[in-house]
Symmetry: C2
Subunit: 220 residues, 2 copies
Amino acid sequence: MDVFEALYTTRAMRRVSEDPIPEDILKQMVDAGIRAPSGSNRQGWKFIVVTDQKIKNQLGDSYREAWDFYVKEFYGGSADMGASNVPNDEKAEQVVRISKSAAWLSENFHKVPAMFVVLSRNDPTGSSIYPAIWSIMLAGRAHGIGTCLTTVLGMFKPEKAFEILNIPNDKGWKIDAVITAGYPLGKWGVADRNPVDEVTYLNTWGNETNWNLENPLWSY
Amino acid sequence: MDVFEALYTTRAMRRVSEDPIPEDILKQMVDAGIRAPSGSNRQGWKFIVVTDQKIKNQLGDSYREAWDFYVKEFYGGSADMGASNVPNDEKAEQVVRISKSAAWLSENFHKVPAMFVVLSRNDPTGSSIYPAIWSIMLAGRAHGIGTCLTTVLGMFKPEKAFEILNIPNDKGWKIDAVITAGYPLGKWGVADRNPVDEVTYLNTWGNETNWNLENPLWSY
């Protein structure tokens, strides 16, 4: 697959089928992840690949608790995640669509065929792990695997997840993300985005670029 | 370019030539970045592309201050970034090599032809921006552009950078990263990494996978 196809079409794919992912593909996804650079090449990371149904059920329960807490904390419990506060109808519709898809993932978390629990330590920047995370997701895309990056479990229910996964809690590890993975129920496509010239300045803030790309580098 | 070539060979390329990068490529790098998913598709991001020499000189001065502070804070001022504390000779050599390369970047920061200053806001997770950052770097790789992800400027000298770049400081923006970019002085290659089976467990911590990839998916 062309790198631009991967970069343009790897969206958050929350709705996936229960079909298992071959071990060879899971392995290749991790192998692509560890090629990413990390600060000073520390590679202070571990990956727990979860496919066992019992463990997935337990993580699913924790995820739902964490997700409910997140929605309550940041959206005041509003099931539409604040869509009613979005002034523009089109955007509000998108927020509703995403919140439904996120709710689907929360309800079906335990049915996703594989999860990559990503841990890191000894990173003064806190961000060194993310190239590896995004590489795992892009490598999944190249194999037709849809993924979704979730961070709520590590943020709001880490102690429960540590217990379920038997992670030592005295070695400085933290859960940065859980990547869900499976064959998508929906279609791949290039997502709508606010265009480059709306989000880019040249040299200083406010200095518009007029950088319009008439055609995206990839479309179907 | 094949997606796996990009994923396997995009290393931190700190040493780059002063040759300018065509605007079309800079634009395409940002366009690849904005295709990445962000939490709830918020796209709470801005990119300032810096090519002006005066601004680069000012950012270079700030970067050096931030870098010196970082080395002092986290490595007690040791110029080898702690290599003398690394038990294994081969690893210590690598740490010295990286610290020299990092010192090169600090000294030559203002000579790098282009920098992407990446800002975000309204992200409860703090990590939503990193897929876009890594996509910019992978898109650069596809065009033969070497990049390096640096976070010290936003961590240790944000107020100075805000002043130089004229960024409003009452709108909730923060600088997540500065990506340096230029044509590499070194060669592309697959970096040595601790292999998958050393950093991956199956289902629970400590449950070894024996996931050896006999051949990497990409090599030269």
